[in-house]
Symmetry: C2
Subunit: 253 residues, 2 copies
Amino acid sequence: MNEENKIGNYKFVAEPFWVDFSGHLTMGVLGNCLLNCAGFHAADRGFGIANLNEANYTWVLSRLAVDLDDMPYQYEPFEIETWVENVYRLFTDRNFAIINKDGRKIGYVRSIWAMIDMNTRHPADLLKLHGGNITEYICQDVPCPVERPSRITLADGGKLVSSHRVVYNDIDINGHVNSVRYIEHVLDLFPMSLYQSKRIRRFEIAYVAESYFGDRLDFFTSEDKSDESKEVYNIEIKKNGSDVVCRSKIIFD
Amino acid sequence: MNEENKIGNYKFVAEPFWVDFSGHLTMGVLGNCLLNCAGFHAADRGFGIANLNEANYTWVLSRLAVDLDDMPYQYEPFEIETWVENVYRLFTDRNFAIINKDGRKIGYVRSIWAMIDMNTRHPADLLKLHGGNITEYICQDVPCPVERPSRITLADGGKLVSSHRVVYNDIDINGHVNSVRYIEHVLDLFPMSLYQSKRIRRFEIAYVAESYFGDRLDFFTSEDKSDESKEVYNIEIKKNGSDVVCRSKIIFD
């Protein structure tokens, strides 16, 4: 198979309600676009949600790490490229590049996905899926200069900074809080003054467990002061006072 | 000018993160699509935001009333048509039709817009705009079987049901809470059980004043029990304990 067919390319425009006060695309909307591209790319190659659902399997996003030099500005066109870098038995690595209106790569993303059996909720063997044909799409010679998702820890357990009762708009078709809403809730923990003086250089999120309508989500943050040139925050979201749902890290510079 | 050029037609697909637990497009996302269509339609005809901003004017949405028989389902394509029904000195009426994957009109929308001078914040005379050329696009022979936006009142002042501190993701490029976020916050006032047993038949919102980062929004609701066949709620949003920001009405049936 030639490399071109392995890489999906999808076009977008930074719509007015997709941008923040500064006129730049929000990280939540970028997350939405990335996950849509993953869906389009998989569907076009026969391992999308629709194909899988027939066999009672579905994709589950485990981790996402986004590194950005810039963000598209209101009304600007941008493109997202995506490809599969690795396929293991229980996980696959999917990468993305974000390309601005001038054709320059302004960001890269690494993501890790699992597939689960919707009946048993157990992970499925990706190498056996569709006779292993997902491995035909592996593409390892495209650069993706972004650090892999890290292990996020809150050394001191973090400080409780916000609580949120899960509402109607948080919930997706599976009955869970959707992946993009967690990103938005994490962004909403920080004051406007921080967004006015700095920009998000890196954003990471690890999805640990599901949460549901009516759950109380508690947001804990811990500032990592090891690098004085940046503001680095580790975030943990717990539900109903106990289980960890997500962990996230934001680097502002 | 022929009628076809007066009506704009825009195509969408109900993306996975645009649908709710039931798999149907959310009203917030539909609002986003409607407002984008208004923007595309105006821009294509020379009276869009970009043209206006050069002259220090901008469009302001005043009221929106949506009547729906159905909503697009996940992955379904849908279309939105929009046209200008009336132009007065200080307001213009813009209508919309929502067309499902089978070409059937499943909803209609009426909206009222003003134009303001961004320096003085005063309304501008639409009939003088661009030599009055917006009036060339008036299109009154297209049916739009939806009641005009009503005057929403909370007879008893309503009951305080929720408060929200305005956060980063609420704010648009003008520094205000964006019109779509108010719709989402209103939808989030209602329990999942209501969405599970009924669907939104009509949604209205009237934008009264702007709110800003850090403002506290208080949500008051009052149930109108005059029609036993439906659940009708009037909603008022006030900021910082005093000024009304928005009023809304939802009819579930």
